[in-house]
Symmetry: C2
Subunit: 345 residues, 2 copies
């Protein structure tokens, strides 16, 4: 199998996508074709044997072969025209905007390119934390209470501190603050509004348990990772999460009784539903007083959460054989023809 | 102003998009550049003076100039390379999938092309009727009660007939049936599942009033159309709606008292919010016992609902001057550089 790892793009998480993509080289035995989308959204073919983070930070990648995305795939200009890049499927490893907000899925769908990654609806429902909550409510999965605040709204609202403030639309802890008192509220809001014009405010529950579970639907069944209890110091900030994205070593399983693991897997199944088919996702849950709450859905998790799976590559390849098909649509110009016939033309 | 009307694409509503696009020629004085996306998703530049529906149904458009979409715009191959097509903004007139499901918005956003039309989130929230209901609930706009049914679910559910069955993800009345008794239920479900693997079942309320209101946010205010009470015979089927898409004549305003018009406009404003900025949308409301319910949001309404506006072109041009900007994101490779520095490389 030849896997095209697609990474980079115009995102606050551009750099962690670079790190994620490079981490995959260590964990995959399949042949990798690296497709880099730079910050200007131009595509480049990066030689797999030469990939390292400096190639991108130094701008050296600009000397690599440029690619164009068109109907059917990625193409390299050659003397005789365009040569199609050969691979079996794209693995979307673009974190944050472009990769997780629906843009890349749309483009790959539009141009009929086979890919592992969230489809458009899955992207929008997970990228916007408010929509994640709406969706969770609809399918019967709990999430923490929240207040929505828009940039133009009055800040004079009633809150019980401590609270956690999150931009609606960013991952990787960017722009997130824990606010312990009213005095800190304004500044934290300013920080969050730097990244989005809408924020969510949730109660910050001291000592709440956090559990991550990754998985996908492939071969007519759910394939689950182990459950991890992420290390946390209040919560991971961007620097720490960043390092997190380069993880390639297996982690220890959380110490949980079987019934709690089942509860987490049940919530995962409800969330995944038909909507997330085609993607390997990581759900970050809270557990409070024995109840499971969805915190966030990562439809393109850091380094694809490889470190949580007993056989990551096998899971990925099985998923690649279970990708959702696009809906069959026919167009026979029946209506236009019948109108023309009626007109006697 | 030069308006690029983008139409066609891979959609059950491909043909009505052709009709919508042609209708616009009659109502706009601005110069129009017609960009046709055919059923294979190849783009063509159609001469404005030669456009007619037969050009598409006969396949004659294939002799027109082919266009490629790339970073910055649409391009025509020339002897010396690529020539960029000149226009001020794209008007997205693709109905149904591709145009209203987020694909076209994603592609235009990704390639930095200025456009009137729903952005990704707006597309997903309006294209999927279940998400429209979730969204309406969140922002405090009523919608009719509903039951969600997936293809794999048991059909043995309790219902009070008559009900209306709708595929979750299609517009233009495709696949919709009114079911008067249990005996008709199975067949209607089969029809709906032809188009989507998820359906919504709503009570069918005899004599419910239907009102359409179009509008957009431009020039720092809402621009509303008149309210129309669409003609209906139980409800419009695809053939009738199809003819509806070619409308260019102003319609009569519904006879409503001012307080009801205000109620409809208030519901429109809540729905439009920040999410639909950049789009001219038509909201189809129900009114039952003096309460307003959202039925559906059309983010790319038939012939852009031109027939509802007192000055359609003026509204459109003002909207084109108020398009949302993409978020500013910087990438300075700060993290990668700091890691490299720490490594001493």
């Amino acid at each position: 199998m030849k896997i095209a790892v697609l990474f980079g793009a115009k995102s606050f998480e551009h750099e962690i996508s670079v790190v994620s993509a490079i981490a995959l080289k260590k964990v995959l035995n399949s042949e990798i074709v690296y497709i880099f989308c730079d910050f200007n959204r131009d595509f480049y073919l990066i030689p797999t044997d030469k990939i390292n983070s400096k190639r991108f930070s130094s701008g050296k990648y600009k000397k690599d072969k440029k690619l164009e995305i068109k109907n059917g795939g990625f193409f390299q200009k050659s003397l005789t025209g365009y040569k199609q890049l050969d691979f079996d499927f794209v693995l979307n490893v673009i974190h944050g905007s472009d990769g997780e907000d629906g843009k890349i899925s749309s483009i790959l769908d539009f141009f009929n390119i086979n890919y592992i990654g969230p489809r458009i609806e899955a992207s929008v429902l997970s990228y916007n934390k408010l929509y994640t909550k709406m969706y969770a409510k609809e399918i019967g999965v709990k999430s923490l209470d929240y207040t929505v605040l828009n940039k133009e709204d009055s800040r004079d609202i009633k809150l019980t501190f401590p609270v956690i403030i999150k931009p609606s639309r960013l991952g990787s802890s960017i722009g997130i603050s824990i606010v312990k008192s009213k005095g800190e509220f304004d500044y934290a809001l300013d920080v969050a509004y730097e990244f989005d014009n809408q924020v969510l405010i949730e109660p910050f529950i001291q000592g709440i348990k956090e559990y991550n579970l990754a998985g996908c639907y492939a071969d007519n069944e759910f394939k689950f990772s182990i459950v991890e209890e992420p290390q946390k110091e209040e919560f991971l900030d961007f620097d720490k999460k960043y390092l997190d994205f380069s993880r390639t070593k297996r982690v220890n399983e959380a110490e949980l009784d079987a019934s709690m693991v089942e509860k987490l897997q049940d919530a995962f199944k409800k969330i995944y539903g038909n909507i997330f088919k085609g993607a390997l996702i990581r759900c970050d849950f809270f557990v409070h007083e024995n109840e499971v709450y969805i915190n966030e859905i990562n439809p393109v998790p850091g380094s694809m959460a490889n470190y949580l799976f007993s056989d990551f590559e096998d899971t990925l390849l099985k998923l690649s054989a279970s990708l959702p098909k696009q809906q069959k649509i026919i167009c026979d110009y029946k209506y236009i023809n019948s109108i023309q016939a009626a007109k006697g033309k």
